[in-house]
């Protein structure tokens, strides 16, 4: 899969950009804050409908744009896939006309999506482009809060599994409603018997999420383990431990066993079996939920731990081990996504190459050498080998402009 053409309008530092992208590695170099990363961000946004960097879409809009018009930003791409005719995807972020008294900062953004010119939902956008992104911030996968790892599983699964993505949206909506209802019950404004419908919705969707995560993690573990062994010279054994907030069992006995190592990844559970046990657990612990005014069990509280030689990396690992594990996980994700969609996803590497020693740099570049399209950013193009530079298209990025060499000598 690759992007043939990219257009940006008022996106970050790009007032306007129309550019055709070649296949193979594209090396974007230049000083910081010139717009290298924004190109990667735009592609990531088209793939996942969110930015890898910021949680507020407002920051994506170039606010220097004509102040008389409603502020907006537009990202569009033409995507070539082995399995589909050329498709055109487009996201427009428009500032919603808010009430008179609301400040500019308070007004929200509207996301308009078009696929081949036809208006679509966010859900339909995700999966049109598959990407795997490598970032220095990926270290949060080991060192960050559990929510970072849940987010990682969600984004990865959503890109390849529409059912998962649908279930995630349903789950989040049902969770918000159920939590609101729990508070209303606590305040005496509603009755506990109104919980039934929301329990059912939560469990149905939650079952899909837990089963999907189990399936993903089993595959990732096999692949990541292999990479991690390569990278550590055979010294380290990487394991993924999936710890749902309640442990569903395969035999549906209703007995919740607790295992330190988490859910057995090799005994794949069915979403419907998980859902039945989830409903039971929700009902059994309803009193606690009402007292706390929130749903205490479910995929929104799942944990994923990374273990090296049986020890929890987040607690006992060194920085070096954490970096190795993250690289193993990301390369596993890449391989997993390639298997899942049947072709190479587009790779986005933001400033990660400079952080690696020569051996790992070579290992990483070798592992991704089969990709159809790779966009890499760097401030130091010199760190790449002459062979790599020979193959790569080199673009100098300065002040939201792409400066292309006329003769290919860079």
């Amino acid at each position: 899969m690759y992007i043939e053409h990219l257009s940006l309008q008022n996106f970050r530092n790009y007032a306007r950009l129309e550019v055709s992208l070649p296949t193979g590695p594209i090396l974007l170099y230049g000083s910081n804050a010139q717009g290298k990363t924004s190109l990667l961000e735009a592609i990531y946004y088209l793939a996942t409908s969110r930015s890898p960097y910021t949680t507020t879409d407002r920051q994506l809009i170039n606010w220097n744009a004509d102040p008389d018009l409603l502020a907006f930003a537009k990202i569009g791409a033409e995507v070539v896939s082995a399995f589909r005719p050329l498709s055109r995807v487009e996201v427009t972020l428009v500032q919603e006309p808010g009430a008179l008294h609301s400040s500019l900062n308070g007004s929200r953004l509207q996301k308009e999506i078009r696929i081949n010119g036809v208006p679509r939902r966010v859900m339909d956008l995700i999966g049109q482009i598959n990407v795997v992104m490598f970032l220095p911030q990926d270290l949060v996968l080991v060192e960050g809060a559990p929510s970072e790892r849940r987010r990682y599983m969600n984004i990865t699964l959503c890109q390849t599994d529409a059912t998962y993505c649908e279930a995630l949206a349903t789950f989040e909506k049902a969770l918000t409603q159920r939590n609101a209802l729990l508070r209303r019950i606590a305040d005496g404004e509603a009755r506990p018997d109104e919980l039934g419908y929301w329990n059912e919705q939560l469990a149905q969707a939650g079952g899909v999420l837990i089963a999907g995560r189990q399936r993903l993690l089993r595959d990732l573990e096999v692949k990541a383990r292999r990479v991690h062994r390569d990278l550590s010279g055979g010294d380290e054994d990487l394991e993924l431990s999936y710890q749902p907030s309640f442990l569903p069992t395969a035999n549906n006995s209703g007995q919740l066993s607790f295992q330190v190592l988490g859910l057995d990844l090799n005994r794949q559970l069915k979403a419907s079996d998980i859902a039945a046990q989830y409903v039971e657990t929700l009902e059994a612990r309803q009193g606690e939920d009402i007292a706390r005014g929130m749903t205490l069990i479910g995929p929104q509280r799942d944990e994923l731990r990374l273990l090296v030689n049986g020890r929890d990396l987040g607690l006992y690992g060194s920085r070096g081990q954490a970096r190795t594990a993250v690289m193993s996980l990301k390369l596993a994700e890449l391989e997993w996504m390639r298997d899942a969609v049947g072709e190479w996803p587009i790779l986005l590497l933001d400033e990660v190459i400079a952080e690696l020693d020569a051996a790992r740099r070579a290992y990483l570049l070798d592992r991704i050498s089969g990709a159809e399209q790779v966009l890499l950013t760097t401030t130091e193009p010199d760190i790449f080998t002459p062979e790599f530079l020979q193959k790569a298209t080199r673009w100098h990025i300065r002040q939201g402009q792409i400066i292309m060499p006329q003769d290919g000598s860079g």
């Binding site: 919603e96 006309p97 808010g98 009430a99 008179l100 008294h101 036809v118 679509r120 939902r121 859900m123 339909d124 529409a162 649908e166 349903t170 909506k173 049902a174 918000t176 409603q177 159920r178 609101a180 209802l181 209303r184 404004e189 509603a190 109104e194 039934g196 419908y197 929301w198 919705q201």
Partner: protein, 200 residues
Amino acid sequence: MSKAIPQSVTNLIEAFSRLPGVGPKTASRLTYYLLRAPDELSQTLAAALADLKSKTRYCSVCFNITEEDPCPICQDEARDASQVVVVEDPLDVLAVERTGAYTGRYHVLHGAISPVEGIGPEDLKIRELVERVQQGGVLEVIIATNPGMEGDATAMYVQRQLAPTGVRVTRLARGLPTGGDLEYVDSVTLLRALQGRHEM
């Protein structure tokens, strides 16, 4: 708002911008349009607004908005009183009427269950529906709440409340939009259509 603008103008702009889908710019444009337009337009508008609330009420049978009670549909002897379509809003009554295929009566709930918005079953005309069915004469209740979580929650709640009465309760089928190419149907609709498939 600037002091250069008279209070009466500001008031109207602010009132307009409280309407759904109207931003400050549109609100100002409408207000200044009315200022320049003939007096007659403002007077017609003001009278229509005043009548809207003073002359309308809920129908005591179906809770649709009406000027006469019971509403014309509930009074229409030609319409089948044994069938009742349950909808969230008066606008949904119009949508079903536009199909031209329905000859029964209606019941308007005035919303859907949504704990987030603080709307529970007691805030809707559900108890009134159950009482209406208990009074007899209704053989089938067709639930036509909006597809989606709140509509589904409402449908399920209504169904549970009606169960003791023994009345037949059905739900609108959710299918593919007509005239659409299967390729361009969104995945939820397609999934639901697949789930709701029937024998041929």
